[in-house]
């Protein structure tokens, strides 16, 4: 039975339901009126829009951010590429249109058809690219025949462009089309199929900085696909620009000085670890990648025995040769085994076990001290140090100089190199460390492997009083207006385990190697600047000189030269590696000299 209360409630509920009916009727009228307005009053207008004049969305790609050198010279920018496209929906008879177009442009009809075929399944208002990067003449031709080519449109897209072509290509890197795997990653959520992203170098590591926000517009177009009215427009937001630490001018000098020889050059500022130039030879042209590299070009790069895609500055591993004597000397000094005046006798070779280890100078250097030993690069002097030190003490100091570990430069695929220890030897060969090996590694041969960047940073730490910096290749990221988004400050990675006194002594030794009458690096001498440096020759295979020169280039030794200048408060440190160049003194030192003298010219003119 219903209670009194229930019936009271019932009454009120019925009232509210009645109110709800009224609201329903009102809302029905609202929907009715709106539909009337859209379909009956606006019907003609919308019918026209839907039939002849269609609304298109056209993307405006945000141009990729620029890469500039430290003085503001553009190293990577964008150029417009004019593409001829087909909008399937506007092409009434695509077959005829394609045939006509192929005739006009002289292009292969079956290729154009294939392009259209590949795009099947996409919305019909999305343009299909038929020909990319067409000439002005071709554009004019298409536009004058536009009434005969319904559905054909000329679309301009920004394309990455490196105005100096190969200049600093390994540092700048190149682009490539985004892969499906990359698209799945969360950091690429703003990307879509067909986008180009950095695949190498600064382009790769700064990718997210270079990506702007795409804009676009919605346009009413006529029957042949030409815009008649833009209904809404969103401008693309430009991305950030990246300013490198390198000086393009110095980079150019270094590349010219190296010429067509395979090798590497790195110049850094010893005061902060900023990279001033970074050359790897042979180079590649990053422009080839900007629209997707052709199979032919790719094959050429990949099958080149000299590996042009490798950045030798951070990826090539070679024994450091005599440039390593600096480390051996530092270790011996710091371990207290020798001092400035310790002398050894060089008779042209040193016997160890049942083998004779030769000095490069057949006649020997006679009795020689540390300054002379380093300046004249006496091998016997350092054989003695090597056997005094043993592998592990030397390895400890080498690590202190940053060898065998990554320098931490913000580029991908850097190699750490290798410094042998007795433990490694035991596990690798199953026999204890051989005394003779100590002699080899003391002069930088044997299993030592370093990158040019590691070597120059080690020398820079002698130049700056013992600080090992993390190398910097990017100075700052700025927005379009030029205000700084992020600045990369010098970071001290470590201090080399060496007393100030010994650092000063070693600096004198290196000065002597260039400036003393019998110094091996005399070819790097400059009239007004105190250059300090060290030559090196990395053996490819141990052969007598006569034999190796007979075997030809690929068995010739690698030439090294590392230097900094001026001797006190150095402003630049340079490493030069010439693969199969022969002697460091003759092949590498003159290149370093050119770079150093150019640097001071630029400095004097106030450009740096």
């Amino acid at each position: 039975m219903r209670s009194e209360l229930d019936s009271l409630y019932e009454k009120r509920l019925q009232t509210r339901i009645r109110v709800a009916y009224f609201i329903l009727v009102f809302i029905f009228c609202l929907l009715f009126v709106r539909l009337w307005y859209l379909q009956i009053i606006g019907g003609d207008y919308y019918r026209k829009l839907s039939e002849n004049n269609r609304i298109r969305i056209q993307k405006i790609k945000a141009p990729r951010g620029l890469i500039l050198d430290v003085r503001g010279q553009i190293l990577a920018s964008n150029r417009p590429s004019f593409d001829i496209c087909l909008v399937p929906q506007d092409a009434i008879h695509p077959e005829i249109v394609l045939k006509h177009l192929a005739g006009l442009l002289g292009s292969d009809l079956s290729r154009l058809k294939k392009r259209v075929e590949m795009s099947r399944g996409r919305p019909p208002f999305e343009p299909i690219r038929l020909e990319t990067d067409v000439s002005r003449d071709a554009i004019a031709l298409v536009l004058t025949h536009r009434l005969d080519l319904p559905g054909v449109a000329v679309v301009s897209t920004p394309v990455r462009y490196y105005p100096h072509e190969t200049l600093a290509c390994h540092l700048l890197g190149h682009l490539g089309e985004i892969s499906p795997q990359e698209l799945d990653q969360p950091e690429f959520s703003r990307y879509e199929m067909g986008d180009f992203i950095g695949k190498y170098g600064v382009e790769q590591i700064m990718e997210l900085q270079f990506k702007g926000v795409d804009g676009g517009y919605q346009a009413e177009v006529d029957a042949t696909g030409y815009k008649i009215n833009v209904m809404g427009r969103v401008n693309p937001l430009p991305s950030h620009n990246v300013i490198l630490t390198i000086i393009a001018d110095l980079q150019k000098t270094a590349e010219d000085a190296l010429g067509d020889k395979a090798g590497a050059v790195v110049a850094v500022d010893p005061r902060n670890g900023r990279v001033l130039a970074m050359v790897s030879n042979p180079a590649f042209n990053p422009n080839l990648f900007s629209r997707g590299i052709s199979l032919h070009d790719w094959d050429n790069l990949i099958n080149n025995p000299k590996h042009p895609l490798m950045n030798r500055c951070i990826q090539s591993l070679h024994p450091p040769g005599s440039t390593y004597k600096l480390v051996t000397a530092a270790a011996a000094l710091e371990e207290g085994l020798i001092n400035r005046d310790t002398r050894f006798f060089c008779g042209g070779s040193l016997r160890c076990g049942n083998r004779s280890y030769r000095c490069w100078k057949k006649g020997g250097h006679g009795k020689i001290d540390l300054v002379g030993g380093l300046a004249e690069s006496c091998d016997v002097y350092f054989y003695n140090l090597g056997s005094l030190l043993g592998p592990d003490a030397l390895a400890k100091h080498a690590k202190g100089f940053g060898f065998g570990v990554l320098t931490g430069i913000s580029l991908n695929n850097e190699k750490p190199g290798f410094i042998p220890t007795s433990g490694w030897y035991q596990s690798r060969y199953g026999i204890p460390w051989q005394a003779g090996e100590s002699l080899s590694i003391a002069i930088g041969q044997g299993s030592n492997q370093v990158t040019p960047l590691q070597l120059v940073l080690a020398y820079a730490s002698i130049a700056n009083g013992g600080i090992l910096y993390k190398p910097l290749c990017i100075d700052r990221i700025v927005d379009v207006e030029g205000s700084v988004i992020e600045r990369f400050d010098p970071t001290i990675k470590a201090r080399i385990p060496l007393s100030q006194e010994n650092i000063k002594l070693l600096r004198d030794c290196l000065w002597g190697a260039v400036n003393s009458p019998s110094g091996t690096g005399w070819r790097a001498r400059l009239p007004h600047i105190d250059v300090a440096g060290k030559t090196g020759t990395a053996q490819v295979i141990s052969l007598s000189k006569e034999k190796s020169s007979q075997l030809g280039d690929s068995f010739m030794d690698h030439a090294w030269f590392v230097a900094f200048a001026p001797k006190e408060s150095a402003q630049i440190a340079v490493v030069v590696l010439v693969e199969h160049g022969g002697h460091g003194g003759s092949a590498a030192a003159p290149i370093a000299k050119k770079i150093i003298s150019r640097f001071f010219e630029l400095e004097e003119s106030g450009c740096v």
């Binding site: 209360l5 339901i17 003609d44 209904m231």
Partner: protein
């Protein structure tokens, strides 16, 4: 055991209208899904037909059980819904960045579709069970409001803005039918006005964009505004009698986004014109008025509350969906009952209809 009055009280008109609209929906999907890129996959309309059969089967099942027995377990049902929502949040399948879907052996289903129904059952059971003197007191609202807010938050974070907005509106309008004083309504409205801006902070970027796009469609004509403009063109170009079945250029040429789900009404209005669109809306209003009728005929408060709540769900879903499609409301993702493609949506709509018919059948049984 089986009362013959159950059959004689069965509302055949309501059942027939719902069946007609469902079939119209399947025919309409034949058009909206015809562009499908993947030809090997089962077409939308066939899948939808299967789901309709599932819905009708559930209908038979639900109609036979007295709604009072169902409502007795309303608390449990709603608990299950909340747990399923939590599961979807943690293990849900990703569909365009939302965890709305729960995978159940090859089938995916949307727990929020279930939650809106169990919430109404819970609210009805709770309010009808209270021993009211003259009107509900303020404290009577604390538990249902809390449960509703929890439900809304769980749905909102999935994120499913559409369904959470729907539940907010259903809850507010449901309270309007309850018997309580005018000043409570005032308190409610004032607190709502204060809370509304804080909701803004929780909205995703794309949701804010859509609201901006609604307020100023020209400005963001590429993303959110694009849907609105294309939808208006589709509907408007249908004119009085439409372009004819399978002849809608907007939908066939794929200008219309999400045409088989949220924008299904545009396809209908483009191909069947003003006449078709108004006819479908009329069918909907027939269903609503039947729902309200059932509420006023019901033998007890429980039945009234359930039928009011469920009618409100369908009403708001229809109003929000058609409102956004014809450009009088901002675009939030919400399906159109019976017409939008989607198993969860169709089946849950049929569950609602079966509960309404259930109450109608038992109006005179005491």
């Amino acid at each position: 055991m089986f009362d013959r009055r159950l059959i004689s009280n069965f509302d055949w008109t309501l059942f027939a209208v719902c069946l007609i609209v469902s079939i119209l929906g399947i025919i309409n999907l034949l058009s909206a899904g015809s562009f499908s890129l993947n030809h090997s996959a089962t077409p939308y309309y066939l899948k939808q037909l299967c789901w309709l059969l599932v819905g009708l089967f559930l209908f038979l099942f639900i109609v036979l059980i007295d709604y009072q027995s169902i409502a007795r377990h309303a608390y449990l049902f709603h608990c299950i819904s909340l747990i399923l929502l939590l599961c979807a949040l943690f293990w849900g399948g990703q569909s365009v960045g939302a965890n709305r879907w729960l995978q159940l052996g090859g089938l995916s289903f949307q727990p929020s579709e279930l939650a809106k129904i169990t919430l109404i059952l819970f609210l009805s059971q709770y309010f009808s069970g209270l021993n009211v003197s003259t009107s509900y007191r303020f404290q009577d609202f604390s538990l249902p409001t809390l449960i509703t807010i929890i439900t809304i938050i769980l749905i909102f974070v999935e994120p499913d803005l559409g369904t959470s907005v729907l539940i907010v509106l259903v809850f507010i309008s449901f309270i309007f039918f309850l018997h309580f004083g005018f000043r409570y309504i005032m308190v409610f409205i004032v607190s709502g006005i204060i809370l509304l801006p804080s909701v803004w902070l929780f909205l995703e970027d794309y949701q804010k964009r859509r609201i901006f796009a609604f307020l100023n469609p020209g400005k963001d004509s590429l993303r959110a505004g694009y849907q609105a403009i294309q939808s208006k063109i589709a509907i408007g170009s249908g004119m009085l009698f439409g372009k004819g079945f399978l002849s809608g250029t907007q939908s066939q040429l794929r200008f219309l986004p999400e045409q088989h789900t949220d924008f299904i009404f545009s396809v209908l209005a483009e191909e069947w014109g003003f006449v078709g669109a108004v006819l479908v809306i009329l069918f909907f209003f027939l269903i609503f008025s039947k729902g309200l009728k059932i509420a006023s005929l019901s033998r007890d408060r429980l039945g009234s509350f359930i039928s009011i709540g469920l009618t409100l769900i369908i009403f708001w879903q229809m109003f929000i969906n058609i409102g956004m499609v014809i450009g009088i409301l901002p675009i939030v993702g919400i399906t159109l009952p019976f017409l939008s493609y989607g198993g969860s949506s169709l089946v849950s709509t049929w569950v609602i209809i079966s509960l309404l018919l259930n109450i109608r059948m038992r109006k005179l049984l005491f």
